[in-house]
Symmetry: C2
Subunit: 701 residues, 2 copies
């Protein structure tokens, strides 16, 4: 296996000619390593078995890593002809397991194994042709053809690892040792684990665009996190340490488990880790292609749910609080361990990158500063569900790599395993799996009183809310103009908002509230819907919102809006956001200096009644601000409640005049009426333009 | 009545101070003349009678002419308070008769007569206040407050005439002679009518904005009409001449009558003109407030239906073709008669403007050149249904004065009567009534072989068609940009349209067809809908289209679009417009050099099938032009027919790419793909913006 010791490519330095050679070599090694994996199957019939009842048969993965290059090259228009459309469909998707609680019996008509090998040959030729001829200039960035080459290679490297897990799940009589290196033969005396103190830090997460290494979209972004000090286990939890939990009845005591964990355990009837075998009271361990007597000093391999139950058990036994590290806490360990170079390539002496064994090894074999196995050996589960860093952008050529996992149900694993190579073995690598999922993964624990905030901002998918976010925040300046800013500036010119207490109704996703807060003393911003008002609250409190918007047909874009405008951020604390129904506003909302009705009238059940009573909520001399299309029809105001838009006694009654007339009982007009044009996005190809009239009134009687 | 000899005001000359005095005097005389009309009622109880069972009680008209000023001043924001909202509603509408075949039994709660007189006093004070204080500068134009003063005055003058007709319909015992001048006492020997030759002419119709006199909106515009020579009766048809028709059984012979005429005659059981009385074989005539022995030399007063029946009878008797004059033919008479001055004020010695009698007079009393009564005596029915001149614009403060009559059912009357004053007595006056309606109106006949084209272009009210007309023709240049022009220029740059034969599908209301015709040799333009394709045909053949568009709520705008672009007009004859369904296009549409699909794909049932076969309709080397949003969803293309907009095998399938790929079997891409922004209007406050991709292909195999 010596020949396969590679590292992912530096994309930002070197000359194009040698870079092409370097990538060609990296591809060929990846390709061969992938194929060599299957030398561990006893014969071709095994390709038709499933490693996991919920995953595809093994053959799928042999085809999939080849098909992936072709499909992506085609999508990116690097090639304009397919090799085999049938295969490129059959082997395209189904990588992710179907949910364990949602079985699926799809029928596939799988081809003979030799046809897949044939396909791989053709694909390899075509990929090499692309590598030999595609445009290459340094640096290689997101939009370059060679980014797609790297995507194919790194994708294949992921599957080398995940397929090895599937092979590990095949019956032992279906596998042979094959040509995949030697396992570790050491099993030391098990050392007692202990805790190491890690001091508090303000840690930077995420990599910048233009970083020297290939990265998946979820790795980009830059954010800082302040992390308190904590204690961490010096070593990964070994099979021996975990056995205490098992023998103490850990798998029978519901209170140790999360609800999700207990449901999984009950469904699986799990009594110990998946790869443990207990025969006549004697434990052994299933590796990828062999079974060995239990190596007690090796790290236990469990899913998150089991790791978490272990921590809860330990908490219950000791009275101290144990849990898994968060993503940021793991980075504190990694920084302390000096395990990576400036590019983020792993440089530690560690059981990683297939550089030591084709298996795990004792948890006290590779020391990294005070700890062991900060990288390598087996992955380490964290408490952190994966999410994009603020400002996350989807890579358009692989738009479902990350976002489907940003659901709060996929937890990050860190550190890599003995078989993690390429991007997997880099500092910024971020892989996440469902919490019940098996990888070559175990854990180390943290002792800390801090309950980390692990809430994941899911993508808001409600079309109305998402479109409102677009209107409010992703302003298309050449067209929509600064509708919100202009509106508020105009109001400020006339109503002098300084030191004023503003009530904003129909706040939607909050842009107006933020704009008003730049001038006013306090803004109370209400919206009909909790789903809308949630967004500006997130913007105020977390500085970002996430939502999906319609592209074409069923296709979506993912938006990460980070509020970077300093002035808006600074003043956001002046805003109180609440849900309430303006048709029946609580009496508490009174004594305001300014009340603003942005596109509100047309949303009300009875706009006339509202205008007749709105003065009761203003202080004497207070200002009423109305921005409206006066378009009752489109918004579904019942005909009998229209203030205008019809003929009465033969004369046209215009709603604008009619509303002015209703208000004249208590108000006088101030300032000039202004016409504003407001663009509202519906999809990538369709927007609505509203002509909005802005007028202001002063309460005089 | 000497005191009431007035003429409408010159609004474009003189100084503001004396103009204010002049208008004040004109108003006061109008007001008094109106009130004096009701001195012909026997007592106040008569105010509660109806002159016509289908019109309001007389009291309504006493209130109405006052209320009208107040309502219009309020609408125009010249005053900001009403006098009596109840009266200003009660006396506001119902001027037009309810249709004679559509009886209506509304209940009104009419006030006492003295309250209406009281109201008139208050109204008069307020109107005088406006006249004394409103801004006045010369010239007085459409948007000036004094235009509204003139509108009130001229409106009142119309009602002086029409109310006199209603009083004429009251039972004779309800009326007295009152203070309304003397009737004519002459009844000459009836002269035999004969025909006068009028030579062909190219006549100008309509007055220009900025004309010296107040005009109703329907008088404006400028158009020319080529009129053939014709023969016209020297005199109006007298009671004596009409008697021949009556005694010849004219009212019993269906073949003389139009269908509409016969239906009316049957409903009314009419046997002679409405104001004729036959008692014991002796005829007499009802005037406004008295009955006199039949003055046989006076003009007969009939409605259009009776006049038309008379002409048909005369045609049937003589074998020559008789009919009424058209509007243009009447203008030829008027120009020959020298009856008006340069301002258009009537200057003929004629029974008009209350200057001679308070009744008609013999038809040979007032000669105007070779003819008699070109103006005055009684109005003359024409064959012409009223319609706006090309480019007609509604006056926004009286938006239902004209347009409800542009329905092909209201015929113009010309020339004025003995009681026509103010605007009624001007050259450009255009009044029209339902054809069964009675006014102080008779007719003269024309003998001509020419069947005039009397088709009225009604306003297209279908929202989709009307909105398409707006998009196509009323381009809002600062925003929408020249979408159509840019599209065609781009195509011409790539496809060199010169000498090409173009097939345009989804032609809508035709702008693209006209733009293509600027470059191409021939354009075949098809649309799904006959209702759409009717519009460009009208534009090509008549140079104009009419439609209504949505303003706010139920309110509409009336649009008259006149195609003034010389280049578009000149080339329009190259276009063949047809209705056809592109989903199932006739085989005849083949061998084109260029096929253009503007926003068509998204309207098809099966866009893929269409793209797979469209090459069959092109010559070798022909061009295919596609402009599309590729937005299947909004346009209702069934999901199974979408070319893209979804994920397949995990990869996004973009419709644009997918369509390109389908076309690659026969076509190659030419030129650059271009993104165009296209604005589509939905109402005054709401538009849709589409992002349209334009791409071009050449048929190569």
């Amino acid at each position: 296996m010596e020949n396969f010791k590679t590292q992912t490519i530096i994309l930002t330095a070197g000359d194009a000619v040698s870079k092409r050679v370097e990538i060609r070599d990296y591809f060929l090694k990846t390709w061969e390593l992938d194929e060599r994996l299957y030398s561990q199957l006893k014969d071709d019939s095994v390709f038709y078995h499933r490693g996991d009842p919920l995953r595809h048969i093994i053959l799928f993965y042999l085809g999939h890593t080849a098909v992936f290059y072709i499909n992506k090259f085609f999508l990116a228009k690097i090639i304009n002809k397919r090799i085999n459309p049938l295969f490129e469909s059959l082997f395209a998707i189904g990588v992710d397991e179907m949910s364990w609680d949602d079985l699926n019996d799809k029928n596939y008509n799988w081809p003979p194994v030799n046809e897949v090998w044939e396909y791989r040959k053709e694909a390899k030729e075509l990929i090499l042709q692309v590598i030999d001829t595609a445009e290459l200039s340094i640096p290689i960035t997101w939009k370059c053809p060679f980014w797609m080459v790297m995507m194919g290679i790194e994708h294949e490297r992921i599957h080398i690892e995940t397929s090895s897990v599937l092979i590990r799940q095949l019956p032992i009589d279906k596998v042979v040792k094959g040509l995949f290196g030697e396992i570790c033969h050491a099993d030391s005396n098990v050392p007692a684990n202990d805790l190491v103190f890690v001091s508090a830090s303000n840690i930077s997460l995420g990599k910048h665009k233009g970083h020297s290494l290939y990265g998946w979209d979820n790795e980009y972004g830059q954010t800082r996190e302040i992390v308190d000090s904590f204690m961490v286990s010096r070593m990964l939890v070994s099979n021996a340490e975990y056995l205490q939990f098992v023998t103490d009845g850990g798998y029978s005591e519901k209170s140790y488990w999360t609800d999700e964990g207990w449901a999984w355990k009950s469904y699986k009837n799990a009594t110990m880790p998946l790869f443990w075998i207990k025969d006549n009271g004697k434990y052994s361990l299933r590796l990828v292609a062999e079974i060995i007597p239990m190596p007690w000093s090796w790290p236990v391999e469990v899913n998150y749910l089991e790791a978490k139950a272990f921590c809860n058990w330990k908490t219950s036994k000791t009275g101290d609080k144990y849990r898994l590290p968060t993503e940021a806490e793991w980075y504190m360990l990694a920084q302390g361990a000096g395990a990576f170079n400036a590019d983020g390539l792993s440089v530690a002496d560690a059981n990683i990158n297939l550089s030591q064994f084709s298996s795990p090894c004792p948890v006290n074999m590779f020391a990294h500063s005070e700890l062991f196995d900060v990288v390598g050996n087996v992955w380490q589960w964290t408490e952190s569900p994966i999410a994009g860093y603020p400002g996350f952008e989807v890579h358009p050529m692989y738009d479902d790599f990350s976002t489907p996992t940003f659901d709060g149900k996929h937890n990050l694993i860190k550190g890599g395993s003995w078989i993690s190579t390429g991007n997997e073995a880099t500092y910024h690598a971020r892989y996440a799996f469902r919490r019940h999922f098996y990888q070559h993964a175990g854990f180390r624990y943290v002792q800390s009183e801090i309950e980390p905030d692990l809430e994941v901002q899911e993508y808001e998918t409600d079309l109305d809310v998402a479109n409102s976010c677009e209107d409010n925040w992703m302003v298309d300046s050449d067209f929509a103009g600064m509708y919100y800013g202009k509106l508020v500036e105009t109001v400020n010119d006339v109503c002098a908002l300084d030191s004023k207490n503003v009530l904003l109704l129909n706040a939607q996703t909050g842009r107006l509230a933020f704009e008003f807060a730049k001038y006013a003393q306090h803004v109370t911003a209400l919206d009909f819907s909790a789903r809308f008002i949630r967004m500006p609250i997130l913007l105020r409190d977390k500085g970002m919102v996430r939502y999906t918007v319609k592209d074409e047909g069923e296709l979506l874009f993912y938006r990460d809006f980070v509020l970077s405008d300093e002035e808006l951020r600074r003043n956001a604390s002046k805003i109180c956001f609440m849900q309430d129904n303006p048709n029946n506003l609580k009496p508490i909302y009174t004594n305001f200096d300014v009340i603003v009705l942005p596109l509100l009238l047309e949303e009300l059940v009875d706009p006339v009644n509202f205008l007749e009573n709105v003065h009761l909520r203003l202080v004497n001399g207070g200002c009423l601000v109305i921005a409206s299309t006066y378009d009752w029809e489109t918004n579904g105001v019942a005909r009998e409640y229209w203030p205008g838009g019809y003929k009465k006694d033969g004369e046209p009654v215009r709603s604008f005049d009619s509303c002015k007339s209703i208000l004249s009982t208590h108000f006088e007009s101030i300032g000039q009426d202004v016409e504003l044009r407001h663009l509202k996005r519906l999809s990538s190809v369709r927007s609505v333009v509203l002509n909005v009239k802005l007028s202001m009134y002063k309460l005089v009687k």
